[in-house]
């Protein structure tokens, strides 16, 4: 009896990280969208890049439980790094991307080294302060960043010297899709690894994880650095595909909005960003013709409703529905 239950548990655990057929759905949709909506590929590339950013937020927020109000610091760091390189003769997108990841990761590591020792409200404050500090630096260092006017004069070379960024956004779309896929592979491997499980443990009960000997700070610093590098990659994607970097890439507003998108999708589920980011950005694209300000009213209202009544976001609601279904069949 016990042995069969044990094997059952072991089997269930090993099944956890096996690919579920449903996990192919986002990639299928991404490919199909390319052919279905050829007029919206530029928006599509932005959605894909922002999804990567959302994924990086989900790693720290959903898995490690670090509430961050400043993740745009890393996104912006990546965007400015890629943008600066492209404006100064290093136009190869992949080189820009790697440099952006290195810079954002370095900033993530250094700031994480300082702020991850704090807890609760002060960690939230510190992430916020890091972000506004970098934004103010970008605002004032006009010779490097262009300040409030934004970084200008980016010349992005073809991807791998083969695929030129075209007017319709085809190259941008595929480039973003591939980078997102790689990011997803990394994230998925991470969260199902023992390392990822220990993060969840830290999120749920720090004291107990400390007691069983988990190096909590080291684990948090590792995921924070990885997530920062991923956010930097997302920033580089946006910079290279739109050939523009402005101050709002590094703002607290963006840090808040990306949080909102991930929450709408469902946090700590790896696919929250894949649901929330496209929903948010497509709706915003449609509604912004009416008036972008009123858009904020509805987003705010939706946010309040989600927190009060639908804590798991869209994916949480779907899971709830899914759990209800078989029970009806049993009856």
């Amino acid at each position: 009896m016990t042995t069969s239950r044990q094997t059952d548990v072991v089997a269930r655990f090993s099944r956890r990280h096996r690919l579920h057929p449903l996990e192919a759905l986002p990639w299928l949709l991404i490919v199909v969208s390319f052919f279905l909506f050829p007029d919206y590929l530029a928006l599509g590339a932005q959605i894909l890049a922002t999804t990567l950013f959302g994924l990086s937020v989900d790693l720290v927020l959903g898995y490690a439980g670090i509430v961050t109000l400043g993740h745009a610091a890393f996104f912006g760091m990546g965007a400015y790094t890629a943008g600066y390189l492209a404006a100064h003769g290093v136009g190869a997108p992949v080189v820009g991307m790697i440099a952006a990841m290195a810079m954002a990761g370095a900033v993530g590591f250094l700031s994480g080294l300082i702020i991850l020792r704090a807890q609760g409200l002060s960690i939230l404050m510190l992430t916020l302060v890091v972000c506004v500090m970098l934004q103010e630096a970008a605002n004032k260092a006009t010779s490097i960043t262009g300040g409030a006017d934004g970084l200008q004069g980016m010349e992005v070379a073809p991807v791998l010297d083969l695929f030129r960024f075209d007017l319709y956004g085809k190259t941008a779309y595929w480039y973003a899709a591939i980078v997102l896929f790689l990011g997803w592979l990394v994230a998925r491997t991470l969260v199902h690894s023992p390392f990822g499980r220990s993060l969840t443990g830290i999120r749920e009960n720090v004291a107990r994880m400390r007691a069983i000997g988990t190096p909590v700070f080291g684990r948090l610093l590792t995921i924070y650095t990885i997530s920062a590098a991923m956010a930097g990659a997302a920033g580089a994607l946006i910079a290279e595909t739109t050939q523009l970097v402005a101050l709002n890439a590094i703002s607290v507003d963006l840090s808040g909005v990306i949080l909102v998108m991930v929450i709408f999708g469902g946090v700590g589920r790896l696919y929250g960003a894949f649901v929330g980011v496209p929903l948010y950005m497509i709706a915003q694209d449609r509604f912004s013709e009416i008036d972008p300000t009123y858009w904020y009213f509805w987003i705010g209202l939706l946010l309040v409703i989600v927190v009060m009544f639908a804590r798991g976001g869209v994916l949480g609601l779907m899971e709830l529905l899914w759990q209800r279904l078989p029970r009806r069949r049993d009856r």
Binding site: V67, M133, D253, V306
Partner: protein, 290 residues
């Protein structure tokens, strides 16, 4: 030498006026965060609401400034009660994340509501005639309205501190901040106390928002633009105290004015760096209890 002295006096004066506004707006936030443990990003909404109500009362209905400010403050205090009951209360025990998100939703909504009813631009503000112009102090003259800000701020701060130290309500708040369960078990109605404290904090924010409209202009994105400064005052000052934020507001107000005057090319960069240093040195703020 004389110019350096006059610059120092000018920085101290304008910095103190700014600090008074910052303190009035933020002190309620310190109480909410300290008392209820609630991460309230929407506190600036009450300040901007006070400012908007005041301008509507003055320019829309022709009510004089001295009456319009108390009316606006009262309106915000009354409005804050149902908000506390229905939106804040269910989340008292919730995670930081839920509180952050809910209040961020309120901030987003306030941006849209402000723009819908009052337009996208900043509201004009004219001090009443008795408070406009300059005041002569010895050899120097100071803007009258800012002198009034400093004076009324000082009076309010004294009243607030006396109130918290000497009244029964103040004692109850202090008891609940220190140990909520204990306060409850000796018969303090903490639920009513929370509502009252919340309303008082919102009223003070509305007062700061309306009186300070000359320094921090009332515009739709007010609650978002100044959020970082309000949070800095509270986090640096220490949660649950009302003296700590005063010191923090003075530090922030004066150093912000000084940096922007002396080193404009760095903007607020050093302010943020200093905040970070303080928070690392004392994670619970300068006057927070360990």
């Amino acid at each position: 030498m004389d110019s350096a002295l006059s610059a120092a006096i000018s920085i101290a004066f304008h910095g103190t006026a700014f600090a008074m506004v910052l303190y009035l707006v933020s002190v309620g936030l310190s109480v909410t965060m300290g008392l209820m443990g609630f991460v309230n990003l929407a506190h600036g909404v009450f300040a901007v609401a006070g400012g908007y109500f005041m301008t509507t009362l003055i320019f829309g209905l022709g009510i004089p400034f001295y009456l319009a400010v108390p009316l606006a403050v009262l309106a915000v205090a009354l409005l804050s009660v149902p908000l506390e009951r229905f939106l804040y209360r269910p989340l008292y025990g919730a995670s930081d994340l839920d509180q952050v998100l809910m209040t961020m939703g309120l901030v987003f909504m306030s941006v849209a509501v402000g723009k819908y009813f009052w337009g996208p631009t900043a509201q004009p503000f004219y001090p009443p005639t008795a408070l406009s112009g300059q005041l002569e102090f010895g050899l120097r003259s100071f803007p009258a309205y800012r002198s009034f800000l400093i004076g009324s701020g000082a009076v309010l701060v004294t009243l607030l501190w006396l109130g918290l130290d000497r009244t029964r309500f103040g004692a109850q708040i202090r008891a609940a901040v220190d140990n909520r369960r204990m306060a409850q078990s000796v018969g303090i109605n903490t639920s009513r106390l929370f509502t009252l404290a919340f309303a008082l904090g919102s009223a003070l924010a509305a007062l700061g928002g309306s009186l300070g409209a000359e320094i921090m202009a009332i515009s739709p994105s007010y609650a978002l633009d100044h959020l970082v400064y309000f949070l800095i005052v509270v986090a640096v000052g220490g949660l649950g105290t009302i003296r700590g934020p005063f010191v923090a507001a003075l530090l922030l107000g004066v150093s912000d004015t000084a940096f922007k005057y002396l080193l404009p090319e760095f903007g607020a960069f050093f302010i943020y760096a200093l905040t970070m240093a303080v928070l690392l040195w004392r994670p619970r703020g300068l006057f927070g209890q360990a």
